[in-house]
């Protein structure tokens, strides 16, 4: 058991660090926070730079245009880019961390050729249309209906919380293709070209006042059958492939970011009781970070994430809530203007969602209890 990165990993780190220090100063000025088409341009420009420098799709297999980095190099990549304050994946999140890996695992040859390199280059932006007003935690209850008509599905329904809905080229779409089957057995995974007729996109304003999320209203949208990933009615299994990626390393940069935020907040913390709480939070985040390394090691050895992967998201998101609360206490009356002091208040608001999005903390605890600890499931009605 050791924490020493290999020489190869360290060489990778050194090269990346050098590239970041020369590339980051060249970035254009960031666009206004709620100008999403400009932000799409800015985020995809960064993705293009990563691509040109040979860092795009860091953990994607080489044969699909990725870098084939080992899990430990992937960690190094996330550590270094976050510490250097390189841009966040932003609008590329769904394509790089969700849809792309799903297409790699489950897509046809044609789907791979059509999408993977576009995603890596920043030429194609994806949004996620899983959740529905009536299907959040109970995702398998999706109702959006798809009826086969020749070589098209006719899709009607409503989606909510569609990240980057207004600016996405494609959406990940879960639809119900067999209303009579048990709920997990009648779902299909479709790629939704966002420019098809019959799609209405309404921005959903969040507590931050921003609108990177959208509601989608789908009215008899004709989606080609060639857009289906996996078999008809096999969409729940495909969804779990997608979500497993999210559980892997999708949250690592959030965690490194949290450690950075602790350093940023620290100079404002003068009250000894608050400094003590800050020390506790730093220690606990260090611990979750160590658990992440454990998990990455297990993934490298066995090919599957260890049980820790189901704990990390829960642990770090709850810690972010505490850190957010501490920031509010520390800043006192300066919280009255969101941008009066640093990003702390904005972060407090943003992190309210961390224990909700991508599976609420309660759902995470159900999963830990049942899948990791082997506790009996709740009786279903």
């Amino acid at each position: 058991m050791d924490l020493r990165y290999s020489d190869v990993d360290e060489a990778f780190r050194a090269r990346l660090r050098e590239w970041l220090s020369s590339e980051l100063p060249k970035l254009p000025v960031q666009p206004a926070r709620d100008d999403w088409s400009a932000r799409r341009g800015w985020d995809t420009d960064w993705q293009r730079r990563l691509f040109d420098a040979g860092y795009a799709g860091i953990n994607w297999p080489k044969e699909f245009g990725g870098q084939g980095a080992t899990p430990s190099q992937h960690l190094v990549f996330l550590e270094e880019t976050t510490r250097a304050r390189a841009p966040y994946v932003g609008v590329n999140f769904v394509g790089l961390l969700h849809a792309g890996p799903t297409i790699i695992a489950e897509g046809t040859e044609a789907q791979k050729t059509d999408h993977l390199s576009n995603i890596l280059r920043g030429d194609e932006v994806w949004c996620q249309g899983f959740s529905e007003p009536q299907a959040g935690s109970d995702l398998a209850a999706v109702r959006t209906k798809a009826v086969l008509d020749g070589d098209h599905y006719i899709v009607t329904g409503q989606k909510i919380w569609c990240s980057y809905g207004q600016i996405g080229d494609y959406g990940e779409l879960l639809v119900r293709t067999d209303p009579d089957a048990p709920k997990h057995k009648g779902i299909t995974w479709l790629m939704l070209p966002m420019d098809l007729p019959g799609i209405e996109i309404r921005p959903l304003k969040t507590v931050l006042g921003s609108s990177e999320f959208a509601e989608l209203f789908l009215d008899e949208v004709r989606v080609p059958v060639s857009c289906r990933i996996g078999a008809e009615n096999d969409g729940w299994r495909v969804t779990n492939v997608t979500l497993a990626f999210e559980r892997g390393t999708a949250f690592v940069s959030e965690m490194v970011d949290a450690l950075r935020l602790i350093d940023d907040l620290s100079p404002y913390v003068t009250d000894p009781a608050y400094r003590r709480e800050l020390g506790h939070l730093a220690a606990e985040l260090d611990g979750v970070w160590a658990l992440t390394k454990r998990n990455v090691t297990q993934a490298a050895r066995t090919g599957v994430m260890g049980p820790g992967s189901m704990m990390i998201k829960y642990a770090y998101s709850e810690l972010r809530q505490r850190l957010g609360e501490l920031s509010m206490k520390v800043l006192e009356r300066d919280v009255l203007a969101i941008d009066a002091v640093g990003e702390f208040v904005e972060e407090r608001l943003r992190t309210l969602a961390l224990t909700i999005a991508a599976g609420t903390s309660q759902i995470q605890k159900n999963i830990i209890g049942e899948r990791v600890l082997g506790l009996p499931k709740e009786p279903r009605p």
């Binding site: 058991m1 050791d2 924490l3 020493r4 990165y5 290999s6 990993d9 430990s72 602790i262 350093d263 940023d264 620290s266 100079p267 404002y268 913390v269 003068t270 000894p272 400094r275 003590r276 709480e277 800050l278 020390g279 506790h280 730093a282 220690a283 606990e284 260090d286 611990g287 979750v288 160590a290 658990l291 390394k293 454990r294 990455v296 090691t297 297990q298 050895r301 049980p307 820790g308 704990m311 829960y314 642990a315 309660q362 995470q364 605890k365 159900n366 830990i368 209890g369 049942e370 990791v372 600890l373 082997g374 506790l375 009996p376 499931k377 709740e378 009786p379």
Partner: protein
């Protein structure tokens, strides 16, 4: 980076675990620490790990198992010694609590000037007749003798770090056992016609405990790896962090396990209270979570002096 137990470490863990299960049953543990326990652990190599070439990463694996089995005694102080030894922080003249005094050969104290050695026979104190942990007898020594200087200040701080690490490993073991006990109980105990572990309120308590224990284990093992190979991290920060999260995990899992067990958790018969009481005892040794948190905060960027 291979931050997972090696095959040798798995074998080490399984070996010590089966030894403890065979010879240190809860019935025996409940009788408290005695010389025969010390001799058997010595024979098993528990106190000579470092001398026998084991790393700190190996050592925390073993000490976690001692915690899991709730083995009582001055186990951390005796590490590396050929006698029953405990180590406390304190200076000449201090009023202190000494654990296991009747079994000790000597006491070491860690102070600013270094390590001091005091023969157990020269320690005078009254034994508490109602100790918190029935397996950790405590003597109140009103005035600590000066003892003899046997180590430098830097040796004292190194020893303190090592003992802090091993204590944190024991705390992880306590937490881990408490998780296993609670999950086992939640699966077998039925109310309202179903296992209590199928109720979310209980399931979520178990999940919270498991996360605390898992994070603590990772933190302690990371600190051990850094002690073995100091340029792979910030040793002091990881050590403070390990003691914080391990101490909190042990106490939190003890308290929560009591809740999972319901009324049985409040009985002398069920082992949970022994683990929780040990967790509280270990929390007082080599710095509490709060004092370590203050130390971590000292390592973070500081406010301008004018603001303080």
């Amino acid at each position: 980076m291979n931050f997972d137990l090696t095959d040798d470490q798995v074998a080490l863990r399984d070996g010590i675990r089966s030894l403890l299960m065979g010879r240190f049953s809860m019935e025996r543990v409940r009788e408290g620490f005695d010389r025969s326990m010390f001799d058997e652990l010595t024979e098993a190599g528990v106190f000579s790990l470092r001398a026998d070439g084991f790393s700190w990463a190996d050592s925390v694996v073993v000490y976690e198992e001692l915690g899991r089995a709730c083995v009582p005694g001055p186990l951390v102080g005796s590490a590396g010694a050929d006698a029953v030894v405990d180590v406390i922080e304190g200076r000449s003249g201090d009023a202190v609590w000494v654990e296991h005094l009747a079994s000790l050969d000597r006491l070491l104290t860690l102070g600013n000037d270094g390590i001091r050695e005091i023969p157990a026979a020269s320690l005078i104190g009254a034994e508490a007749d109602w100790p918190l942990d029935p397996l950790t007898p405590a003597h109140r020594v009103e005035s600590l003798p000066a003892g003899e200087l046997v180590g430098t200040a830097s040796e004292a701080s190194r020893l303190l770090n090592e003992l802090t690490l091993l204590t944190a490993a024991q705390q992880v073991g306590l937490a881990s056992a408490l998780v296993d006990m609670s999950v086992g109980y939640a699966i077998t105990r039925e109310q309202f016609g179903r296992p209590i572990g199928s109720f979310q309120a209980v399931k979520h308590m178990c999940a919270e405990m498991a996360v605390k224990a898992e994070v603590a284990r990772a933190a302690v093992q990371a600190a051990a790896c850094i002690m073995d190979d100091p340029d792979t991290g910030d040793m002091m920060r990881s050590l403070h962090g390990a003691k914080i999260v391990a101490g909190e995990a042990a106490i939190m899992t003890g308290r929560t396990a009591t809740q999972v067990y319901g009324g049985m958790g409040f009985t002398w018969e069920v082992d949970v209270h022994l683990y929780l009481k040990r967790a509280w005892v270990l929390e007082t040794r080599f710095g509490s979570a709060d004092t370590h948190a203050d130390a971590v905060a000292e390592m973070l960027p500081q406010p301008e002096p004018s603001q303080r």
